[in-house]
């Protein structure tokens, strides 16, 4: 049992570390802020959640598990809202898209958005 | 590690001092903020760095585990953090009101008190 937990921990942590790294690489490599946000808000959050779950499995005590679950829940509730807010604000304030962007159907001006 | 922390203290202090020497009153706020960080880290480092042994008594024990960190500097820093936050909040509002009244953030323009 203990060994299984250790393996699960290692797995979760490994995945977590990997995704953290990839996500961070993403925000460096990606061409514009919207794409960077994609990388950041998903990969990094997944990585961090994975690491938190790893900790939960490692300790296994209810107190700890609830804390880690809270972290994951919070990430999953807040990250989309946060990315949405930033992206929206960026788009509304006229931040340009990357040149390779194929389409932009969203009107720039707030007033136009309603029509 | 001590050297690194000492350097960090000094570098944060230098950054803070540099900002405090700026003419923009907005930069003053950042300077004060960083100055607080520098002082806090100074206290922490001066009190002795201990890695990952917080002064918390385990359940059922009577004393924290041997080699725990010194709790006093921590209590001091905690107090200092809160105080400098409160004071900074006030200072920030002050700077803003002043900007509202004078339309400038240049402290060299603040000579009205000088006859």
């Amino acid at each position: 049992m203990a060994e299984a937990a250790d393996i699960a921990t290692a797995l979760l942590l490994g995945v977590g570390g990997l995704f953290c790294l990839l996500g961070a690489a993403g925000i460096v490599v990606m061409p514009d802020v919207y794409n960077r946000m994609q990388a950041a808000s998903k990969a990094v959050t997944l990585g961090a959640s994975s690491i938190a779950l790893g900790a939960a499995v490692h300790f296994g005590e209810p107190e700890i598990v609830s804390r880690c679950v809270l972290v994951c829940v919070f990430f999953f509730v807040t990250i989309p809202a946060a990315s949405h807010l930033i992206a929206r604000a960026a788009h509304r304030s006229g931040l340009p898209l990357a040149p390779e962007t194929v389409i932009d159907e969203c009107p720039r001006n707030r007033d136009d958005a309603t029509s | 590690m001590l050297i690194v922390m000492a350097l960090l203290v000094g570098a944060l202090g230098a950054a803070a001092f540099y900002l405090l020497l700026a003419r923009s009153s907005l930069k003053l706020l950042f300077g004060l903020l960083l100055l607080g960080h520098s002082a806090n880290l100074l206290i922490l480092t001066s009190g002795g760095l201990v890695r990952a042994r917080p002064p918390i008594v385990p359940r059922g024990a009577l004393e924290p585990p041997a080699g725990h960190a010194d709790p006093i500097p921590q209590a001091l820093i905690l107090t200092a953090i809160v105080i400098s936050f409160a004071v900074l909040a006030f200072a920030a509002v002050l700077v803003k009101r002043e900007y509202d009244l004078t339309d400038t953030d240049d402290t060299e323009d603040m000579r009205q008190t000088w006859l």
Partner: protein
């Protein structure tokens, strides 16, 4: 004796009230106060030479200062002069001021001065004396500036107070040093400030003695208008004439002489004392006498002659032989009498004619016969003509000079030369206006009212009386006074006619010659000599008075320049000064304290190092950022990474608090900054480099401080105690929290107060300054 000082002091504030009630005739009524004092003093007559009465009340035992008062020949003589002339001046003032509503203030100030002056002469304690000394300066200042609507009066008053104030400071320093010298010579604290206890002790061996002597002498000189500190006295003539008569001839200016006389037994055994006093006195005597001849204003002439006489007295005390002391005694008393009289006469003339310019005065003898008579008497006394008291004084003076082994003849000739001018000026002041042909444009000149006649008449008569019967004086007081000055028994036997010993004859001869010469100078007053003297006086204007002006102006300029250069309203500069002070003061102790071996016991950790470096990167980027919001983001990162460091170094509470604070700071800054402009880059590159250097140096100081702190720690016993007590007694497992809410809850209470006040302050600031802006605060 204290009551003698207290009664006039209490009467002083009552004077304005009395005047408002009773009008101008209150002068004689108030004169009863000094008369009472005088009578009380007269009880002690005749005074046995070499004896005194002492009265000691405790005052400031911590400093060994007692309200010690001494009555001896010196103080009684002065006391009688002060109270007697005071009574006459008060009477005179009633007439002089007429129905001027400010009479009350004048009388009050005069009484206050009288009290202070009595305090000076009665005090046996150095510091009590000093207290009264300064009070006389203050009273003098208020009286010189009495007509304060005139700029000249204000300036003269300020000058007088500054000069005498500076002297006061020197005196204070001297007294402190003298006391220290006394204490250092083994005199107990209680007696180290007491003049009677210090007399004849012989402190001159103590290293502090010489500086104290110099300082005390400087203090006395400033008060007694000795060269080169004399220039304030002629300027002080802006005061009402009663004041001039009282303060600036008879009493206050003699306080310096009094002090020298009083301390002669204490300080007189040093050669420096003799040299300083004799030379300064002689110089003052001669120069002031010549300068008097260059004046045309009655009061100014009198002022310069006063300076000259003060010089003479100083010189005599400096000479210090029995004869010289006797001469000083007589000369002092005689001068007080005739000079006060002359001032009052000058006042009467001005009162009658509206001018004090001698060139415009003449022919008043018929209109003002009584004044003229008293003027004549006083002038003769001043001139040293027999049979007046002044004559005795002058004779003694000349004999004292001739008595000396060295320089005797020189000094005597100097005195004689000065005397020539004094005689001439005596005639100019008190004879010419009455006897010269009528030149004044005041046809309705009339005799002064009785109140203004009493003073001159009484004083002039006193001069005559004592001159005729000098034995009365020396029996009653003179010998006692001389003994007090000399610190040894000196018996005076004054005679109008000294017989035919060679010294007396020489003196008489010189006297006669000076009289003749003086008369000649007087006759030529209008012509060449006065022009010469006038030129000399102009030269004098470039002397110390000019130096004072220069000093005063230079001081103003310096103050303005320094203030402009430093206090220029630039926050940046103030900050830089603080940082430079930090670096400058810390460099030396750090260089002594930093242990090079203190790499420290904490092992290297690359996680922490990376986090620390990233935190630093955030801070540096914030510094360089051009956008405010980016800067907020960057300091946010710094804060969070520092929180992570806190967590790593065993401080979870700190980490959590830091994170919370960081988040709220970001919200706060964003709320505040969202309407503000981008950072303006206002500094030049050079300035920025300079700032960077300053900041780096200050930062380096902080770094080194850390190394100093961790180098040699003592064991953390308090923390250990807290850790032990935490669970069993404070019932908490988180020691940090237990410290915050229990062990050091008072800190937390204060901190909570800070938080509360900050919030309420922001509220008040926003609400109230919005109002201020609404009211048009925006420029």
């Amino acid at each position: 004796m204290l009551w003698m000082i207290l009664i006039p002091l209490v009467a002083a504030p009552a004077a304005p009230w009395l005047v408002r009630r009773l009008g101008r005739h209150v002068g004689p009524l108030l004169a009863l106060v000094p008369i009472g004092v005088g009578l009380a003093l007269a009880i002690h007559l005749p005074m046995e030479p070499g004896t005194w009465r002492l009265e000691v009340l405790p005052w400031v035992p911590e400093l060994g200062i007692h309200l010690a008062f001494r009555l001896d020949g010196l103080s009684i003589t002065f006391g009688l002069l002060i109270s007697g002339i005071g009574a006459l001046v008060l009477t005179y003032a009633g007439g002089y001021m007429g129905d001027d509503p400010r009479l009350g203030r004048l009388c009050g100030l005069l009484l206050m001065f009288l009290a202070a002056m009595l305090g000076v002469v009665f005090s046996d304690d150095l510091f009590v004396l000093f207290v009264f000394w300064e009070l006389t300066s203050i009273a003098s200042w208020l009286l010189i500036g009495f007509k304060h609507e005139q700029a000249e009066a204000r300036d003269s008053a300020r000058m007088a107070l500054l000069v005498t104030g500076a002297g006061g400071l020197a005196l204070l320093a001297g007294l402190v040093l003298l006391t220290a010298a006394a204490a250092g010579s083994g005199i107990p604290l209680d007696r180290a400030t007491r003049i009677s206890a210090l007399a004849g002790v012989g402190l001159s061996g103590h290293p502090l003695f010489t500086p104290s002597l110099v300082l005390i002498v400087v203090g006395a000189f400033s008060k007694s208008a000795q060269m080169p500190l004399h220039f304030w006295l002629p300027r002080a003539m802006t005061a009402p004439t009663p004041v001039s008569a009282y303060l600036h001839s008879a009493t206050m200016v003699k306080a310096g002489v009094y002090l020298l006389a009083r301390l002669n037994p204490v300080l007189g055994d040093s050669g420096l004392w003799h040299v300083l006093l004799t030379l300064t006195g002689a110089a003052t005597m001669l120069v002031a006498a010549v300068m008097a001849a260059g004046q045309s204003d009655l009061k100014r002439i009198l002022a310069y002659t006063t300076v000259s006489v003060l010089g003479t007295l100083t010189m005599l005390i400096g000479v210090g032989t029995d004869l010289a002391i006797k001469a000083a005694v007589v000369y002092l008393v005689a001068h007080a009498c005739y000079k006060a009289a002359l001032f009052m006469i000058a006042g009467s003339i001005e009162h009658a004619t509206g001018t004090r310019d001698v060139r415009r005065l003449g022919g008043l003898g018929r209109a003002m016969p009584v004044t003229a008579a008293s003027g004549l008497l006083a002038a003769l006394s001043m001139a040293g003509a027999p049979p007046l008291f002044g004559f005795i004084g002058k004779e003694l003076l000349l004999k004292a000079k001739l008595d000396l082994e060295y320089l005797g003849v020189v000094l005597a000739l100097t005195a004689g030369l000065a005397n020539v001018f004094l005689i001439a000026m005596a005639l100019v002041v008190a004879v010419r206006p009455f006897l010269a042909s009528r030149t004044v444009a005041a046809p309705d000149a009339h005799e002064a009212p009785p109140a203004m006649l009493a003073g001159p008449l009484v004083l002039a008569a006193a001069g005559l009386f004592v001159g005729l019967v000098p034995g009365v004086f020396d029996a009653a007081l003179g010998s006692a006074m001389a003994s007090a000055i000399g610190g040894r028994t000196i018996i005076m036997k004054l005679k109008l006619w000294h017989g035919l010993d060679p010294a007396a004859l020489t003196a008489l001869l010189i006297s006669a010659v000076t009289l003749a010469l003086g008369f000649a100078v007087f006759l030529r007053f209008r012509a060449g000599l006065s022009r010469l003297a006038g030129r000399f006086a102009r030269l004098g204007r470039h002397g110390p008075a000019r130096a004072y002006e220069r000093l005063y102006g230079g001081l103003m300029d310096l103050a303005a320049a320094v203030t402009r250069a430093t206090q220029n309203g630039s926050l940046r500069r103030y900050t830089r000064l603080v940082l430079l002070a930090l670096v400058a003061t810390c460099v030396y102790p750090l260089s002594r304290a930093v242990p090079l071996e203190s790499v420290g016991p904490v092992e290297w950790g690359w996680h922490e190092a990376a986090v620390a470096i990233l935190a630093l990167v955030g801070a540096v980027t914030a510094v360089l950022s051009r956008s405010r919001l980016s800067a907020i983001a960057m300091v946010g990162i710094t804060g969070i990474l520092i929180a992570v460091l806190f967590a790593l170094f065993s401080a979870p509470d700190l980490a959590i608090t830091q994170i919370m604070v960081e988040a709220l700071t970001v919200i706060l800054l964003v709320l505040i900054f969202h309407r503000l402009p981008a950072f303006s880059h206002l500094r030049t590159t050079a300035a920025r480099l300079g700032d960077a250097a300053t900041a780096a140096a200050a930062g380096a100081v902080m770094s080194l401080m850390v190394l100093v702190a961790v180098a040699a720690p003592l064991p953390a016993t308090v923390s250990a105690q807290m850790a032990r007590l935490s669970v069993p007694q404070a019932k908490g497992r988180n020691v940090v929290n237990v410290i915050l809410v229990d062990f050091r809850a008072l800190d937390t209470l204060g901190e909570t107060t800070v938080v509360a006040v900050a919030g309420l302050g922001v509220y008040a600031l926003v609400k109230l300054s919005r109002r201020a802006r609404g009211e048009g605060g925006k420029p």
